[in-house]
């Protein structure tokens, strides 16, 4: 899974979020390292919707502007959990090998 995809799914893990909210969440989660642009975001959202990992939760009109909220689907939660476990296991193994004495 690409990092941007993982971060978008992570941004939606806590609850539904609109496009700009996802961008700011991803920036925050990545510590400012990943700044998604709108084109990249909507390419990813389009693919995640096709893969049925996310779905549209609701739409709102704010200041005459459309906001569409997205949420994780049950499949999306499973995929994110599996990817997080995989990354966690890899990171744990790397840390253990860098500090064989445990210190």
């Amino acid at each position: 899974m690409q990092e941007a995809t993982f971060l978008i799914l992570t941004a939606l893990a806590a609850g539904s979020q609109h496009g700009y909210g996802i961008i700011t969440d991803v920036t925050e989660i990545s510590g400012g390292r990943v700044r998604l642009r709108a084109g990249t975001l909507y390419t990813a959202l389009d693919r995640l919707r096709a893969d049925e990992l996310i779905a549209v939760d609701r739409e709102e009109i704010v200041d005459n502007r459309l906001r569409r909220y997205y949420r994780l689907t049950p499949d999306g939660e499973k995929v994110l959990a599996a990817e997080a476990a995989r990354l966690h296991a890899n990171a744990t193994a790397a840390i253990a090998r860098l500090n064989p004495s445990g210190g």
Binding site: Y20, A38, G39, L41, Y42, D51, V62, R65, L66
Partner: protein, 216 residues
């Protein structure tokens, strides 16, 4: 003097790179995100976000439009793009080896007549035209299949049949009309076509194909 409306107009112009169907569903939403992310006083799209929107719009137009689970179709499409590239390689090889090909013809038919020579030259020109056409057909069919279009899958049968005839002719006349390098490329392209055929007609691919949408 530029105004915030100029910024919105600029974004709308960039969003025109996306297909109409995608725009009608998503333009307002993307525009909201773009305007929310714009800096205070910004009156024009920045270069980086312009490039990002153009790239994403072109990808939406020409990239695959299938879920990741359509692995057999997506693999076949990658092979089709490879097939298109090999057609280009085939054209270069063919052009570079035309001299050897003519020498082979003279060896095979030492008593050739001017008429036979003209026929052979015409065949060379025909092949030089046919290869770029084949390149375009590979690209169009790769694009159509990557969007799950039924017509592209059916049309690929015709391409495969033509490729098969070409390879059979090449193998049958290899001493007179085909350079070994061209022959090897033709066989490789045929194998790619065969693998693509198997993949797009496999039971796993079936659910990802749909007929052409009917315009209202």
């Amino acid at each position: 003097m530029t105004t915030p409306n100029d910024l919105e107009r600029g974004y709308r112009r960039l969003l025109a790179w996306y297909p109409r169907a995608f725009r009608s569903e998503n333009e307002q939403e993307i525009l909201t995100v773009l305007l929310e992310g714009a800096a205070e006083g910004q009156t024009r799209p920045r270069l980086a976000e312009s490039a990002d929107l153009v790239r994403a719009g072109l990808w939406k137009r020409f990239g695959p439009d299938l879920p990741t689970s359509a692995r057999t179709v997506l693999t076949a499409c990658r092979l089709m793009y490879l097939g298109a590239l090999l057609e280009v390689a085939g054209l270069v090889t063919f052009v570079l080896t035309t001299g050897r090909l003519k020498a082979g013809f003279v060896r095979a038919y030492p008593d050739y007549t001017p008429h036979l020579w003209h026929v052979m030259t015409a065949l060379i020109v025909a092949k030089e035209i046919a290869i770029p056409v084949a390149f375009a057909v590979w690209l169009i069919l790769a694009w159509g299949n990557s969007r799950g279009r039924d017509w592209a899958r059916v049309a690929f049968i015709a391409l495969f049949a033509l490729d098969t005839l070409g390879v059979v002719a090449a193998v049958g006349q290899r001493e007179a009309s085909f350079d070994p390098a061209s022959l090897a490329l033709s066989v490789t392209v045929w194998l790619i076509a065969l693998t693509s055929m198997v993949l797009i007609f496999s039971p796993r691919s079936g659910p990802y194909y749909r007929p052409e949408p009917v315009r209202a």
